[in-house]
Each structure stands twice: as structure tokens, then as C-alpha cells.
Symmetry: C2
Subunit: 186 residues, 2 copies
């Protein structure tokens, strides 16, 4: 798996081949079939690993103390964690969030894990005040947009990532304005 990640970071997701992977780990491509039944299984394992890393990274990002004492700061911490996760590994970002690998569909098992991770992310967003569907969708769009522009147009730089805090202030102001206050406690 480590060799596979190395390779796709060097050559791109679409260029991963059994031959290259075999060479990288010091064997023939055919020998890999003792470990994975197909190339698809390898990609699927990477997909799964990526989502597990995502969940771990995001859940470690904030602690209860910041959440209680500094909700806006907590929101920024979460947002920065998300964008950092995306930009730190563009190929992983492409595999997890863009799905542009020709012909790849995650297995039901991996897909289920991904869905579960999204559920936990939604819970985390709720804790920082991003609750209703439209707010979640806008939050997601803005942060993936920043990550995407950063990766596409200024790889390795910070032209877009440095806008994350500003974007969070913008989003929170918008959410406050657009949330129908029912007068009840949440």
C-alpha cells in the first residue's frame, strides 16, 4: 500500500500499473495477485485507507475545550484541518472527493465506510453551528472550492489556503443571517 501511494503521488492516479507497482516492491506484477485479486482491489484499499485517514485527521482536529470556549475558533480549526488534509495530498483528494479515476467504483464495503465518515463529519459540523442542509452544503462547497483552487492553480503555495479563516467568518455570518430562529433552544 505504501508503495502504491508513492507511485500515484509521482505518476498520478490513472497511471498506476501492476508492472510499476511490482517493480517498486521488488517483484513481478503477476506476484501481486497473491495479495490482491485485481488492480481494482488495490485502488479500493487506497480509497478505504484514505477515508480512514480522513476520519482520524478530522476527529483529532478539535477538542472539547476549544469547542466550549471559542466556537468561532473551533470552526476555523475544523476548516483549516479540512483544507490542509485536502491540499497535503492532491492525489488522495482526487481519489476520495473527485472520483475521476476512469472506471473506478468503490466496493460496497468501502463505500459504506465513506458514508459513515460523512455522517460523523456532519455531526462535527453541527457542533460548530453548521446544522441545516443548505448550510452544510454551502460550507462544503466553499472549503472544497478553496482546496481545489489551491491544488489546481497554486500547488504547494498558500494563495487560497490563507483565505480559509476569512471564508469561515463569511460562512458563519451568512449562516447566522439565514437560519430561521424558531425561538426554541436547539
Amino acid at each position: 500500500m505504501a508503495a502504491a501511494w508513492e507511485l500515484v503521488r509521482e505518476e498520478g492516479l490513472a497511471s498506476l500499473s501492476m508492472r510499476d507497482l511490482g517493480k517498486r516492491v521488488g517483484m513481478r506484477a503477476q506476484s501481486l495477485y497473491s495479495y490482491f485479486a485485481s488492480k481494482h482491489e488495490i485502488t479500493d484499499a487506497m480509497f478505504l485507507e484514505g477515508y480512514q485517514a480522513f476520519a482520524g485527521f478530522m476527529l483529532r482536529a478539535i477538542d472539547d475545550e476549544q469547542l466550549a470556549n471559542d466556537p468561532v475558533g473551533a470552526a476555523k480549526t475544523v476548516a483549516r484541518a479540512f483544507v490542509d488534509f485536502c491540499t497535503s495530498d492532491p492525489v488522495r483528494y482526487q481519489l476520495l472527493f473527485q472520483r475521476t479515476i476512469p472506471g473506478f467504483t468503490p466496493s460496497p464495503r468501502s463505500y459504506a465506510v465513506a458514508v459513515d465518515v460523512y455522517d460523523r463529519m456532519r455531526e462535527q459540523l453541527a457542533t460548530i453551528g453548521v446544522r441545516d442542509e443548505a448550510a452544510v452544503d454551502l460550507w462544503t462547497a466553499v472549503l472544497t472550492g478553496l482546496a481545489d483552487q489551491q491544488i489546481s492553480n497554486d500547488p504547494g503555495g498558500d494563495r487560497w489556503t490563507r483565505l480559509v479563516d476569512r471564508a469561515v467568518d463569511m460562512l458563519l455570518a451568512d449562516i447566522e443571517m439565514n437560519t430561521q430562529d424558531t425561538g426554541e433552544k436547539a
Copy 2:
């Protein structure tokens, strides 16, 4: 070219092959080389066509009257035009804005056209009040983010595109707050 667009919309950008394209236009793959020196030339021509369509579509989107009488409405018109252009043809979006086609790099000539189009877009953004670099970058990130989520997670629907007007209000409020007013006229 029309057949090539058809094919990539059906099968994806990466799956475009000379054989398929030949079949679609009623000839052998080899005969296509009378028209294009290579497959790369075809992709490059699509890239160029895409940017020309983009420029035409965006420049037609607003008229001077709306710009003068209703600046916020004009901003929304421009934003909607952009997102509509992106979501109306996901494959073209991928070719023009995502650059994930394995091995494709636009020719200098096509690239120059793309750069020129971006310059004109920046001028258009300036007319609706999006002027300094950070504002342009944030605007771009938010709208590509919406388009991207729409294409990836709700193709054919409107879960994200319906947030465009709200996003523009959000952006304009943010830009007004973050622009250092020098006290001079622009």
C-alpha cells in the same frame, strides 16, 4: 469535433479513442489523421473550443443596463451564468478547469487563448465590484466549489446551484467588509 464532444460526454474524457471517434463519424481511425496529426491535437482543439464557448457565454451574460441599474443583480447573473456553464457540461468543465486528463497539456496557442479569456473574466468581475486579488480568488473558489459539488454529488439536480444567489450575497457582504476603503474614488 461534434462527434468528439458526443463521445466524451458518453464515455468520459479519458476514454476518447481514435477508433471510437472514427466509428462515430463513419470512417476508420487511421483516416482521422488526415484531419488531425494526433489525438493530442483533437483534445487541444476541444480545449480551445471550450474556452471560446466560455468567453462567449460569459460575455453575453450581462448587459450594461443591468450593470448600471442593478449591480447586485448583475453579480448574481454573472455567477449563475458561470455555474450554469460548468454544470451544463461536466466533461467540458473537467477539461477546461480541472485538468485531470492523463498526460494532456494544452498547446501554447490554446493556453494563450485560455489566459486571455481569464483576463477578460477578471475585467468582468471588476465591473461587478470584485476587484482585489483576494476577492477574486474567494469568488472563484466559492463558485467553482458550488459547481463542483453539484456535478459530483447531485448531477442533473439543483442542490448546490440553488445556493448561488445566497452565495453571491455572502460574497458581496464579505468583500464590502474586507475592502480597505481609501476614501478615494475608484
